[in-house]
Subunit: 331 residues, 2 copies
Amino acid sequence: MASAVVPATPATLSAGVLAGDRRALARAISLVENRADGYRELLTGLHARVGRAFRIGITGPPGAGKSTLVDALAAQWADRGDRVGIVAVDPTSPFTGGALLGDRVRMGDLAERPEVYVRSMATRGSTGGIAAATRDICSVLDAYGFDWLLIETVGVGQIEIEVMHICDAVVVVFVPESGDGVQALKAGLIEIAHVFVVNKADRPGADQLATELSLVVAHRTETDDWRPPVLTTEATRRRGIDTLEQEIVRCREHLVDTGRLHTARRRQARVELENLLKERLHRYLSGHVRLDAWIDDLTERMAHGDLDPHRGADMIWQRLRAESDVGTTRE
Amino acid sequence: MASAVVPATPATLSAGVLAGDRRALARAISLVENRADGYRELLTGLHARVGRAFRIGITGPPGAGKSTLVDALAAQWADRGDRVGIVAVDPTSPFTGGALLGDRVRMGDLAERPEVYVRSMATRGSTGGIAAATRDICSVLDAYGFDWLLIETVGVGQIEIEVMHICDAVVVVFVPESGDGVQALKAGLIEIAHVFVVNKADRPGADQLATELSLVVAHRTETDDWRPPVLTTEATRRRGIDTLEQEIVRCREHLVDTGRLHTARRRQARVELENLLKERLHRYLSGHVRLDAWIDDLTERMAHGDLDPHRGADMIWQRLRAESDVGTTRE
């Protein structure tokens, strides 16, 4: 937070976001990202204006040029006056310490343009927590009035898959040398991808990988009415970005027309409910003074081998269900 | 499951494990890993015999030689008649498809030795789920009678940290070229490490990294009574393994004598309780016929923007608390 600013309440922040105040936007996102006091009020204040932006997940292996592709796409939209929010979700590695997307170099003045807003989330939370925070940040950007949200993750694990599940459409980016076309099949990515991109297409092997991916896609199409296009791009030279943009627009139309967007958003809502309830459970377990001594006793017995953990969980669950503590809805 | 075997019940499996039957052990682990029907009964049947084994987590960046180090350590113990269970927790990458530890080549006949049992978990579950399953597998191995459990993870993310939290002691393995000594500090690994190893110590930079790590450790020691030793090894030639083994034994003694082992196990129990309750919550949300239509309605309203997700979570939480459904403890 900047110094010497007027203290912001959730209400003034949400009003600022809705009025298009960029500093309010930045502070609102920080509040949500950090789960700081008042973040729920803030989100509640924005809720009525959420739902218009189209959320595009961009994922792929490290080194595939995702950031450059995202920037090129954003510039394309910004050039015609569309507004674009970018969220780079960047799970840190405990061994590199820093962000896996740390080599990100933003194109020219992209982040300075009024149509574009870029935000990195370098985070080390639990998977469900990252996806939930990302979704809430997207809600803030959505309420602010962005037309397109680009959610970029580096593809190294479970976190990326969960983040992709909060998106309306998913673009998977490969490079020729990754030769990962067939591997993607195994990994459950193929089912959630709407567009495949072979980036750095000037390198050898690009056509072969594109052909391979097309075969995989053709195979899948039997059970679906959207056939994911396989595109080739050179993001650094902005080649192929036009086509990518057109395909994303076409995908959105398809999803709206077929009702799939609505279905996807219901599925997202269900996942979100479960994540929020897990957060609630965590607070219940860690915040209850009355419970604490009792849970301490249970863990003591478990540590001594006198209590089966599953039986311990049963006991807490029973107590959770039995207590008629209406006050739990306060917060 | 092998074909043409007598159908096993949880009771016969747990009896088999306690009697030292290796085939029962393998089947029991599969049951637990897959959360298959009866896994809870199985664990309950073993519970009284769990708690004797010392659980050592081994983590570090890819390419640090963890598998070779684990094998050398296991061989060392097996040579003197100690029994060693090895669990290789191997989060798959959605992009490589396969296991990150896939290059594992087990030393000679280690897996054939009666004192040693090796099990790989290639899994793509949620972080909490992997840690919980790993812990339950350790319980099975513990009940079977292993003296030492070596839990090996490749260090690329949050999952490894969570898995390390179910261990009694943690060994962090580096290689000279990783130069990650200082980075580890940032990543919260330093707090949970009991022993640092610089493996492949014949390579340039080993001494420098060891010195750097020693400085970091000395700094930390002000607030702790265990100073993690910094060792150098060449696992492929079994150099330095004696010392590593002695330090682990010394660490165990220290943890027992100071009561820290007991504290750690209580902390593990608490984490486990929370993970089990999250699983319970998931079953509650997905298994209740009565709830389903109602939750569908909530998600419908959320998807339309008519219901704030946090308010939706409040409503489900309230209902969860209010229902006096004692039947929930059945399973």
